[in-house]
Symmetry: C2
Subunit: 595 residues, 2 copies
Amino acid sequence: MANYKAPLRDMKFVHYELLDGNALTALPGYEEATEDLVDAILEEAGKVAEGVLHPINRTGDEEGCTFENGVVRTPSGFKEAYDTFIEGGWTTLTCDPEFGGQGLPHSVGLMVSEMMSAANQAFAMYPGLSHGAYNALEAHGSDDLKQTYLPKLTEGTWSGTMCLTEPQCGTDLGLVRTKALPQDDGSYKITGTKIFISAGDHDLTENILHLVLAKLPDAPEGIKGISLFLVPKYLPAEDGSAGPANGVSCGSIEHKMGINGNATCVINFDDATGWLVGEPHKGMRAMFTFMNTARLGVGLQGLAQGEAAYQGALEYARERIQGRSLTGPKELDKKADSILVHPDVRRMLLTIKAYTEGSRALTGWIAQEIDYAHKSPDPQRAKQADDLASLLTPIIKAFQTDAGYESANMGVQVFGGHGYIREHGMEQIIRDCRIAQIYEGTNGIQALDLVGRKLPMGMGRLLRRFFHPVQEFIAAEMENDEMEEFVMPLAKNFGRLQQVTAWLAEQGMKNPDEAGAASVEYLRMFGLVAMGYMWARMAKIGLAKQDGDEAVFYKSKVKTARFYMARLLPQCGGLMSSIMAGSSTIMDFEDELFG
Amino acid sequence: MANYKAPLRDMKFVHYELLDGNALTALPGYEEATEDLVDAILEEAGKVAEGVLHPINRTGDEEGCTFENGVVRTPSGFKEAYDTFIEGGWTTLTCDPEFGGQGLPHSVGLMVSEMMSAANQAFAMYPGLSHGAYNALEAHGSDDLKQTYLPKLTEGTWSGTMCLTEPQCGTDLGLVRTKALPQDDGSYKITGTKIFISAGDHDLTENILHLVLAKLPDAPEGIKGISLFLVPKYLPAEDGSAGPANGVSCGSIEHKMGINGNATCVINFDDATGWLVGEPHKGMRAMFTFMNTARLGVGLQGLAQGEAAYQGALEYARERIQGRSLTGPKELDKKADSILVHPDVRRMLLTIKAYTEGSRALTGWIAQEIDYAHKSPDPQRAKQADDLASLLTPIIKAFQTDAGYESANMGVQVFGGHGYIREHGMEQIIRDCRIAQIYEGTNGIQALDLVGRKLPMGMGRLLRRFFHPVQEFIAAEMENDEMEEFVMPLAKNFGRLQQVTAWLAEQGMKNPDEAGAASVEYLRMFGLVAMGYMWARMAKIGLAKQDGDEAVFYKSKVKTARFYMARLLPQCGGLMSSIMAGSSTIMDFEDELFG
C-alpha cells in the first residue's frame, strides 16, 4: 500500500504565498491564527493523518462496517483512532470558543480536513458530518439547543448526521414524507424512514444527533413545506450526558462500492422526540447553510483523493522498471528504465498534479473568502466574498470531484494490472472517490445550481465577482513577456467562457432546457478557466522565486502551469463547440426512441 | 438488479444493413452462414446470455472465487452454467470443423461474445481465454499438438490460458525469467512463476492448457529470445483424457476491484512438461496472433458493458420520478416527472447510446474485415482487410474500453446514490469494466502501437485503408442535402485528423517522444472520427428507412447520429489543440520536479 505524506509545503504555498493567509489575523476573532500557530497545527494534523488514519484506511475498506442485532460497528481501529482524534482536539478547530472551540479560520480547518480525507475518507466523514450538523445548529438553532448540543459536537463526544433522503426522494426533497407532530411541551414526535445516512449509526460516540427534514401537519405542499428537526439517538439526561433511548433505530446498512468504513444507514424514526431548528417550513433554508459547507467539503474530497492517487502513482512510476525510453535507454545499469521515462506516464502524472494543486489553490481561495464573508467588519467586503463563494461552490464540488475521479483512474492506469489488485490500495481510491460525484447533490445538480441559480442571481452580480479579478489579472500581465505563455491561453479561454456565458444567458431565458442541456459541460469549462486563473497566478509566483532557495519547488510550479495551459485548458475548445451546438439533439428525441 | 435483454435488432442492423453480412456466404467455408442460421444462433445466444449467465452475474461478484488447499473454486452456479454453455456448443462456433467446430464467421462469433460478456463478463472470460489459446495453437502449433488439444478446446471440456506476465514484467516481456529446458523426447521442462493469469485455475473443465512465454537456454537477450510453450495442467493420457498431474500449481488468487467471478491466479511451473509452439525464440510472433484477437475481444467488452449500463440506466430513468421538467410539469397525475425529462439525464443516456451503438458498428465492420482477411480467395482483398483490421484493432481496444468505462460511470450517475449501492448492479459494471482499459496491453500501449507501429507501417499503407473509404463517403455525400448535417462535421473532424496525422508523422520522425506524448489523445481523436464515419453511414440508412415499418428504430438511428455529431465529435477540437501543443511541457520536466 502506498504511503501518505501530508503535502504541507504546498498547503503553505497556497495559504501564504498565493493567498494572503496572514491577513486573516486582522479579522475579529482570528487574531490568534498566526503563521506560527497555523504551521504547528498543520504539522500535527499531518502526523495524525499519516500515522493514525492512513494505516487503517485499507483495513477499514476490507473489513467494512457491520450490523448485527441492531448494532452498527465500525472497522477495527476506528474507535481507537477516533478517541485519539478527539483527544487531539481536531473536532474543535473552527468551532466557536463559546462552545469550547478554537475559533480558527475555516481556511485552516479545510486544510486539516484535506489531510484527514486523503488519509482515510471513510473515517474523515464521521467528524465531517458532525461539523455539518454543528454549522446548521449554530446558524439556526435556538439558544437552548445550542447550549445543550454544540459543546458535545465541538468536543466530538457526540456526533451528527444529516437526514434528508428517503426512498422516494433524493434530489427532490419536496417529496419528503417524514412527519413531525407538535407536542404540548414544544417538542415534536418524528416518524418516518431516512436512507443513505452517512455516519448514521456507529460505535464511535456516546450519542448521535440527527438533523432531520420532516413535514409539519399544516405544511404547504412540496419544498416550501419542509422543516428541520434535531432528533438525538439518546435524549439528554439532566446532567447533560446521553440519557434514555429515543425512538431512533438503524434498520440496516448499505453495501456499497466504497467508503466501506463509513456506515451508510437506513434510519427509522418512530415517534422519536425532536426539536425544531429554525422556523417552521423553512427547513430548506437551514439545510442550505449546511449544504454549502458540505459541498465545499466534498470538493475537497476530490482534491484529497487526487493527492493520494498522485503520491501512489509517482512512487510506483519511480520504482517500476519496464521497457526503454523511446529515445534510447536511460538507465544502462538496469535491464529496463523506470516507467517515468515514458511520455504517457508523465502525461498522466502531470495531469493529476495539475488538477490536484490547481484544486488546492481554488479551494484555498474560496475558503479564505468564506472567512471574510463570516468575519469581515466591512459589510461590502463580506458580501462580495459571500457572492464569490456562492458562485464557485458548485464548481468546486463538481469540477474537483470529477478531476479527483479522473486522477484516481489515472493513478490506477499508471500501476497497470497491479492497480486493479486491492492490496495496492489504488483501486480503493477510485471506489471511495466515486461517491463524491454523487452525494450532497449530484454533479448534474451542481451544474443546474450554477446555471439556474447562481448565474442569474442579482443580474449577474455573482459572476462579476469572478470575472473582474480575472480581467484585472489579464490586463495587468498582458504586457509582461515572461507571463505571456500563461496569460495568452488564459485570456483566450476566459474569452470563450464569457462568450458561452452570454450565449447561455440569452438562450436560457428563452428556453430553460437550453441551460439544462449545457449545464454540465459549462460547469466544466468554468472550472477549467477558474483553475487556469489559479495556475497563471501560481506561475507568476514561481517565476519570481525559481532562482532562489527552493528552486525545485517553484520551478515545478512554473512547469506544471505550463503543462496545464498547453495540455488541459484546451479542453475548453471542444466543450464550447458541444455546448453551442444547443439542446435540440437532446430534447428533440422522443422518449420511445431511447429503445 | 437491472435485467439484460440481448440487443438482437441492433446487431442485425449492423451485420446486414450497415454491413453486408450476407456476402460472407460467398467466402469458402462460410457458405452455410446464411441469414436464417445466423439469426437463429443470435436468438439462442441471447437466451443463454439473458437466462443463464446474467442471473449469476451479481452473485458471482459477491461470492467471488475461492482458493483453499490449492484448489480454486468458481462462484455458485458457474459450473452448471458452464456445462449448459458447452452442451449448447457455444465454444465451437468459429472453430475449425476439422477439430469439431462449426466454422462460422468471426463476425458472428463476436456478436455472440458481446452478449455473453454483457450478461456476465467474469464468466465470459473463461471461454474467451480458451478461444485465444485455440487461435494461437491453431496458427502456430504442430499437427500433433493440434490433433491432441484443439478438439478439447473446441468442445470446451478443456480450457486455455495465456501466461505472459511475471512479477517483474508486464508490458516489457523481454524481462521474462521463466525457463524452458529441452528434453531428449522433444518436450521441455518449464520452470517459473506467472502472475495475473485470468482463468488460470478453476473447477469448470477437466484440464487447463497454459500457453506460456519462456526462454530457452540459448535465448538471445530481451524480446527476441522468447518462446511459446504449451503446458497442460494434466498431461494427456493414452486415451486422450486428462492424465497425471503436471508440475503446474496455483499459488494464490488475487483480490481485485472487479471480475470477481473470474479467477486471477499466480501459476507456478515447477519442472512442468511442455511443448514448443511455433519456432524457438519466435514466441512473440505467435503471441501476437492471440493478442490481436484478444484485443478485439477486449474492445468488445467495453461495448458490452456500455450496453449493460445503458439498459440499466434507461430503465431507472423511466421509472424514477423526481423533480419537475425545467419547462413545467409533464406528468400532472404524478407528484413528480420521471427523470427522463431532465436534459442532463438525457445527455448521459444519449452519450452511452451513441458510444455503444457506434462501438457495435465499428467492431462489426472490423470483424467482417477479419473474415475477409482469413477467407477471401482474392489475396489483395484479404491483405487490405488485414491491414484495416491491424490499424483499427488498437483503436477498438482502447477507445471502446474508454467509452465503455465512461458509459458505466454515466450509468451510475443516472442512478444517483442508488448507483453506488451494490444491490442495483450498476457499480459492478464500473468495477468489471475497469480492467478492460488495462489488460491485453494498457490503453497507453495500444496508443503506442497505433502511432509507433501501425501508422508508419508500409509508408502509411494501413492508414490509407481507412482514409480512402472515408474520403469516398464524404465525396459521395457532400452534395446530398439531407446528409449535410452529418457529412459536414465528419468532414471537418476528418480533416483535423489528417492534419494531426501529418503533423505527428513529421514530428515523430524527429523525436519519438513527440509521438509518445501525443499518442493517447491521438488514438481518442482517431476513434471519435472512425465512430463518426460509422454514425454518418448509419444515419444514411436511417434516413432512407425512417418512414417505413420500423420508424422508431430508424428515427432513433438518425437522431442519435445527430447527437453524436453535435455533442460528442466536437471533442476533437480540444484534443487537436492539446496534441499540437507538443511534448515539451511533458518531457522538459525534470524528474525531481514531480515532488
